[in-house]
């Protein structure tokens, strides 16, 4: 009954999406204008219908309805209720439904906004969002139906179908297979929703861009209207990437946070284009330039969002994340191709109209340096894209499978990230149109001189790795420049208003949230860069087998193996847990419990590290293996991950900065605002 309800709701949502798209396109072609209201209502109706479908599936999951194929494949009796509920996005069919539900929520919110200034674009926005939604819901309805039931024929053969096959009886297994153990982690509960909120969110600015192209608008209203939507989507995608990194660090048991896995890269690529877009739109708003480029960036972001979902869902690339393979692959491929071709056609049709209002007169200008920043993002994107698709090309061309692992990505993207770091400090200080080396130097020489103290100090401390020295100096330089910019701004304001320094600083940021929010984001990125440099350049590890009471040494740390326990626990797990004492410089600091959880239902192990964390770094212990009698020996792998916690700390600063930049301000109407900018 509940499954039928869920399916009918899903089917009706598909009808609503198709109806809204068709009506909106008809209005766009000059048909009855009053149909637009109906299209809008249909677009909004998709959200409650998909909410009902999601609730139905969640109900079936939580209550253990194993007669539903999806429920039997991703949940089990032993799983706690919250994991059963979050199994909604733990498998292919459920996660596609979840994607569609988020998409419908974004669309409903967009429909609620005041459209007075953009009424002409509304039909196209409805059409673009609803076509995307219809595609995803149709995958659910026709191919990956999460409400498919299990049946048994008279010969005892089981099959899965929504409608009963002839002569078959409903079949309900006594228990389900359970969620992939790697996904049974708090990080995994919130990582996919964050990532999907990011992915789906970019459909909104894309739809407005398509609307602007279709109606032939020359202005940048679509950018201004969607700025906050873009920032929010970008924030969620960034959060998704960060949480994914934290999950990998806590669960995958390899001492790192980023393995250049194809699915990680699939989520990273739209982030790269979106970040380039967020920088580039500032130039269009301020100088009326890069209009083509911004269109290309948002079209690319949309295509990469669908491509990222395609990579995860199609199983076309082998990966720890690509836990499912199905027939959805070719359909994704066609959808990406068709939407990309339509978007580019619209862009080329309006190419002349989008000519820049100004020309780039110097590379040594803010717009020039921002363009350079964009080129670097594109360089990193190309390296990532090439690394991801090359195994496919190789297999198609020669039948030979190859692996593109971290060394390629590190070698190709590392120098570009370093250059981006440098630009991050310098570009915001450059004047518009043209500046001079002298002027730029005058602005940055003091913080640059202070930042040099870091590499000098490191050299004095015996660090001689030139790449590490250079990259940490770059981070220090950007940090000093950014803090100096805050200091100068606050000082100026304090002098002009008489406020105290802290009050001046707060008011300064409040009056220009976008600019100072951006600086705070940059501070977050610097902290993250420090964490990444620390673990990438200075990580050390060792592995050894110890008997009770024996010890291993790594850096200043000594690990002593005390005991090994094995016991069953909740969630149908058998836990093997070691107890080790950790000493630093001869002093006891903590006791750690690295363990291996074996999930009986899924017949799969999960390695949980024992970690001693400080801002200086992590002492990270993995239980690799053990003898049947623990006292005889257990094998440990230990890592020293210097500065890694700055990565997570930077994440918080990054979020804070994005919230400052995206925080709504009480503002004049858009037309008044455009008037102030001289835009007609």
């Amino acid at each position: 009954m509940i499954a039928n309800l869920g399916f009918v709701a899903m089917f009706l949502a598909l009808l609503c999406a198709i109806y809204a798209a068709v009506l909106a396109l008809a209005v766009a072609r000059g048909e009855q204008r009053q149909w637009l209201g109906s299209a809008r209502n249909a677009a909004m109706a998709a959200w409650p219908l998909l909410t009902l479908a999601c609730f139905s599936l969640t109900y079936l999951l939580v209550n253990g309805h194993f007669e539903i194929e999806y429920v039997a494949s991703v949940s089990s009796r032993a799983m706690p209720w919250y994991l059963k509920a979050t199994a909604l996005w733990g498998g292919q069919a459920g996660s596609l439904l979840f994607w569609a539900w988020l998409m419908s929520a974004y669309t409903a919110l967009v429909m609620l906004r005041d459209w007075r200034d953009e009424r002409d674009m509304q039909p196209y926005v409805i059409a673009a969002t609803m076509i995307t939604l219809a595609f995803f819901v149709s995958l659910n309805v026709f191919i990956e139906n999460p409400f498919t039931k299990l049946w048994m024929d008279r010969f005892g053969q089981t099959s899965a179908a929504f409608f009963a096959p002839a002569g078959a009886q409903p079949f309900s297994p006594s228990d389900g297979q359970g969620l992939n153990p790697l996904l049974r982690h708090p990080g995994m509960i919130i990582h996919p929703p964050m990532l999907y909120l990011g992915f789906v969110g970019f459909v909104i600015p894309y739809s407005f861009a398509i609307g602007a192209l279709a109606v032939g608008r020359k202005d940048d209203i679509w950018i201004r209207v969607t700025r906050r939507w873009t920032l929010i989507a970008w924030l969620f995608l960034s959060l998704g990437l960060l949480l994914g990194g934290r999950w990998a660090y806590d669960v995958l048991g390899w001492g790192g946070y980023w393995g250049w896995d194809p699915v990680e890269i699939a989520a990273f690529m739209p982030w790269l284009t979106a970040t380039a877009f967020l920088h580039s739109v500032m130039i269009q708003e301020k100088r009326g330039m890069f209009k083509h480029w911004n269109m290309i960036l948002i079209i690319l972001t949309y295509a990469l969002v669908i491509f990222g979902t395609f990579l995860t869902r199609s199983g076309v690339l082998s990966s720890v994340h690509a836990f499912a393979q199905s027939a959805v692959g070719p359909l994704f491929f066609i959808f990406i191709g068709v939407t990309f071709a339509i978007s580019l056609t619209l862009l080329f049709r309006g190419w002349e109209r989008l000519r820049s209002e100004n020309i780039l007169t110097s590379w040594l200008s803010r717009e020039g340096l921002f363009l350079l920043n964009n080129l670097l993002f594109m360089g990193i994107l190309l390296a990532c894209f090439w690394g991801v698709i090359y195994p496919l090309i190789s297999e198609l061309a020669t039948g030979q499978k190859v692996t593109v692992g971290p060394p390629f990505y590190e070698r190709t993207t590392g120098p570009q990230f370093a250059a981006l770091l440098l630009l991050m400090g310098v570009a915001p200080l450059a004047a518009w149109r043209v500046t001079t080396v002298k002027r730029l130097g005058h602005t940055i020489w003091k913080p640059t001189a202070v930042s040099l103290l870091l590499p000098v100090g490191m050299l004095a401390a015996g660090v001689i790795n030139p790449v590490a020295l250079l990259s940490l100096w770059l981070a220090a330089q950007v940090l000093c420049i950014t803090l100096y910019e805050f200091f100068r701004g606050a000082t100026v304001r304090r002098k002009s208003t008489g406020d105290n320094f802290f009050s001046a600083l707060c008011k300064l940021a409040a009056r220009n949230r976008r600019r100072y929010g951006g600086y705070v984001i940059h501070l977050g990125v610097i902290f993250m860069a420090v964490g990444i440099i620390g673990i990438e350049m200075f990580q050390t590890s060792t592995q050894g087998t110890l008997a009770y009471g024996e010890q291993m040494t790594l850096g200043d740390y000594v690990l002593i193996y005390n005991e090994l326990d094995e016991f069953p626990t909740e969630g149908d797990r058998i836990v093997t847990r070691a107890m080790v004492s950790v000493y630093k410089d001869g002093k006891f600091v903590t006791e750690l419990h690295p363990r291996r959880d074996f999930y009986v239902d899924g017949q799969q192990p999960m390695t949980i590290p024992g970690v001693y964390s400080t801002l200086e770094g992590d002492f990270y212990v993995l239980l690799v293996d053990w003898k049947p009698i623990g006292a005889q020996g257990a094998t440990f792998k230990i890592y020293l991950n210097p500065l890694v916690n700055w990565l997570w700390l930077g994440g918080f600063v990054f979020i804070f900065g994005t919230l400052i930049a995206a925080w709504p301000v009480k503002r004049k109407s858009l037309s008044q605002q455009l008037g102030a900018f001289g835009v007609s």
């Binding site: 995958l252 048991g253 390899w254 001492g255 393995g259 896995d261 082998s318 990966s319 720890v320 020309i359 780039l360 007169t361 110097s362 590379w363 020039g368 080129l375 360089g379 190309l382 390296a383 090439w386 090359y390 190789s394 020669t398 030979q400 190859v402 692996t403 593109v404 692992g405 971290p406 060394p407 390629f408 190709t412 120098p415 004047a431 518009w432 149109r433 043209v434 500046t435 001079t436 002027r439 005058h442 100068r488 701004g489 100026v492 002009s496 300064l508 009056r511 220009n512 976008r514 600019r515 590890s541 060792t542 592995q543 050894g544 087998t545 192990p605 993995l622 293996d625 094998t635 792998k637």
Partner: protein
């Protein structure tokens, strides 16, 4: 005044970019691991560069499956027999295909994989440099004087206040 149509203006930066690329993409020498009793760290040094065909995208040194444990045992045996890193990687590549290596080999069709990024970089750099040259030409008005800066270089206060107002 230096002429910006001078070809050395483009060639010199290209040479520098080429050298940087050469350094970036150069393959550094591999260390040989030998000895009768290889340590687990010596085994891991090689294992972390190999991927088993089953546990895709998980390096051998951290993979928890039995198959990967056997591969690590094989590495240990080979090291004990005096094989070096290159020989061991070649052995696994011959046995299970090049997909066990962390990156494609440089021969045959896979040369494309290594050739395309530097070629793309050089082509992009060429166009970017040409673009810069064009901008510099535009920057030289008829009287040969550089374009004036938009703002007074030293007037930070004015710039800040102006921008604060504009972005409000």
């Amino acid at each position: 005044m230096k002429s910006y149509t001078d070809s050395s203006c483009v060639i010199r930066p290209l040479t520098i970019i080429g050298l940087v690329l050469l350094l970036t993409f150069s393959v550094f020498g591999e260390t040989a691991a030998q000895g009768d009793e290889p340590t687990e760290d010596e085994v891991n040094t090689i294992a972390e560069q190999l991927y088993c065909p089953v546990c895709e995208n998980v390096p051998l040194d951290v993979c928890g499956t039995q198959a990967c444990a056997q591969w690590r045992a094989t590495i240990r045996k080979k090291l004990a027999a005096g094989w070096n890193e290159k020989q061991i990687k070649q052995y696994f590549s011959n046995q299970y295909g090049v997909r066990v290596l962390a990156q494609p080999p440089t021969q045959g069709f896979n040369a494309l994989f290594w050739a395309l990024p530097p070629v793309a970089f050089l082509v992009s750099a060429f166009f970017v440099l040409r673009f810069i040259r064009n901008i510099r030409r535009k920057q030289q008005p008829a009287d040969g004087q550089p374009a004036a800066e938009q703002a007074n270089a030293d007037d930070y206060v004015a710039r800040l206040e102006r921008e604060l107002e504009q972005w409000r």
